[in-house]
Amino acid sequence: MVDLSVKIKNVEFANPVLVASGTFGYGNEVSELVDVNRLGGIVTKSITLHPREGSPPPRMVETPSGLLNSIGLANIGVERYISEMLPYYEDLDTNIIMNIAGSSLKEYITILERVEGTSNYLSGYEINISCPNVEKGGLEFGVDCDLTLALTKELRKRTDKLLIMKLSPNVTDIASIAKAAELGGADAISAINTVVGMSINPQTRKQNIFTGFSGLSGPAIRPVGVANVYIIFDAVDIPIIGIGGITSADDVVEYLLAGATAVQVGTANYREPGISIRIIKQLIEYCEKHNVTTIRELVGAIRDED
């Protein structure tokens, strides 16, 4: 029997395959198609303090082996999340991680406090720091060590649950951002969020996405994700959750070898909502074939010599 389980802080994951924020909705939409209880966990769509309508269309366009999106954080807001989604999560037998986005330090804190103040079965929080900080002239939290440190510290004070900081690859030095999150008391790092991109239609000479700049995801960014995980693994001692372009068990193993303890599957869910279940099966086969008894053996086990 292969042991796929992993533990991050005090949270047990039956397997290391989670689904990424924004690519699996709130978890209920796909329950007709996928047995969500077999997933390692679900990271839910980013939640803001107030409901958000999101960006005008077009919001998405295909690119080679991936896609660009600018959804603009369309979401139901924290109050509806509490009243409509939390009761649904009570009946599920998998880890639910709430992803939080804010436009100010205060907003992140208010959302977290509001949810901590209700009884809930959440396993923890993932903090989307690829958000512009209105108090700092729109500077993204995730590109600044001081902002990342301050935000992590404030949130840490307010919860004992699993606290994960989700990093952006659009920075010059991701290692120092990861260290700031660790110093602030984060339990884990998720990496990466989407890579900044743009697509223009040569015929119409218009942007293919309403907002112009948008986020690249899918297999196209897998090497970027793997490299970032490798760098972060070297920089911090807390566990890493690898994200970016995962479509198979081999991709998962690649991330684990680079230093991830668990992974999240994103864009691939749009093609195949049940892909994570298949990946989990393939992971068992990989382990059996390679005499791996526990998946944890693979973490950072890249062979640098010979």
Partner: protein, 265 residues
């Protein structure tokens, strides 16, 4: 909503650049509600084409589903190269349906471009139920039409070059037919096609205050409401700054069929 690997039983070109495909997919076919609903097809097993392609259902017979598609780009090219016996991965049925009309409503059905499938299915259904109606289908030239222009049977084709049927877009024909019909009964228009066509129809139906349902297309990431890409703007008299679902609606799960007076095209 199910995912099924369907076996293709037919795939042929029925007019220039217009293809018809039939496949067996009992699990999905059994759950289809009616015209307006669509399926989402994984056309390419590799990541060459990352997203599924949405296609309206053009008919259901037992365990078979029919689609009618227009050669458009890479994805539809791959579809056209598939042969009977091969299989494709299908997600569906998705979306909502046109409301059905009763015997005395005398509906006008208008389809064009990639929007023929649901209109044709509706036409067939109304024929089975003996509901009198008018069918108007538009295309650029005669070669793209696969029906016969038959005014006696209330089937009108239009072409931009006049090579068959009425010259021009579907809009003037629709307007004149509406004038004829409206003296006799309350009218309703069902439309599906490219956005410029729907915009023009919208103007006419607003002018004559006639009820119209439209099946829309928009760029879709998933088809099942999780990616939040396929939004269309709702007409909203009291727009709120912070809203979810009030200004934008998801074509895949709120639509694709809307009352024309509730949306902004």
């Amino acid at each position: 909503m199910k995912i099924e690997v369907a076996s293709i039983s037919g795939n042929k070109e029925i007019a220039k650049g217009i293809w018809k495909m039939d496949f067996d997919c009992p699990n999905i076919a059994n759950n289809v509600l009616g015209p307006g609903q669509f399926i989402n097809i994984k056309v390419d097993p590799s990541w060459e084409i990352p997203l599924r392609r949405p296609m309206s259902i053009a008919g259901v017979k037992g365990e078979k589903i029919t689609i009618i598609y227009k050669l458009f780009g890479r994805g539809t090219k791959i579809l056209s190269e598939l042969r009977p016996g091969q299989s494709i991965n299908i997600l569906g049925p998705l979306g909502n349906i046109f409301t059905t009309s009763d015997k005395d409503s005398f509906p006008i059905l208008v389809g064009g471009g990639v929007g023929i499938a649901p209109i044709l299915w509706m036409h067939n259904e109304l024929n089975i139920k003996s509901v009198s109606h008018i069918l108007i289908i538009g295309a650029t030239t005669a070669e793209e039409h696969f029906l016969q222009h038959n005014p006696d049977k209330n089937i009108f084709l239009t072409t931009d070059d006049g090579s068959i049927g009425e010259l021009g877009t579907v809009v003037p024909t629709m307007e004149s037919k509406f004038k004829e019909v409206s003296s006799r009964s309350f009218g309703i228009i069902y439309a599906c096609g490219p956005t410029p066509m729907l915009k023009a129809i919208h103007q006419i139906t607003t002018k004559y205050k006639i009820y119209c349902q439209m099946a829309l297309e928009s760029y879709m990431g998933c088809g099942i409401g999780i990616c939040q890409s396929c939004v269309i703007e709702r007409k909203n008299d009291s727009p709120e700054e912070d809203s979810y679902g009030k200004r934008f609606s998801l074509v895949c799960s709120d639509g694709p069929v809307y009352s024309a007076d509730t949306i902004i095209l």
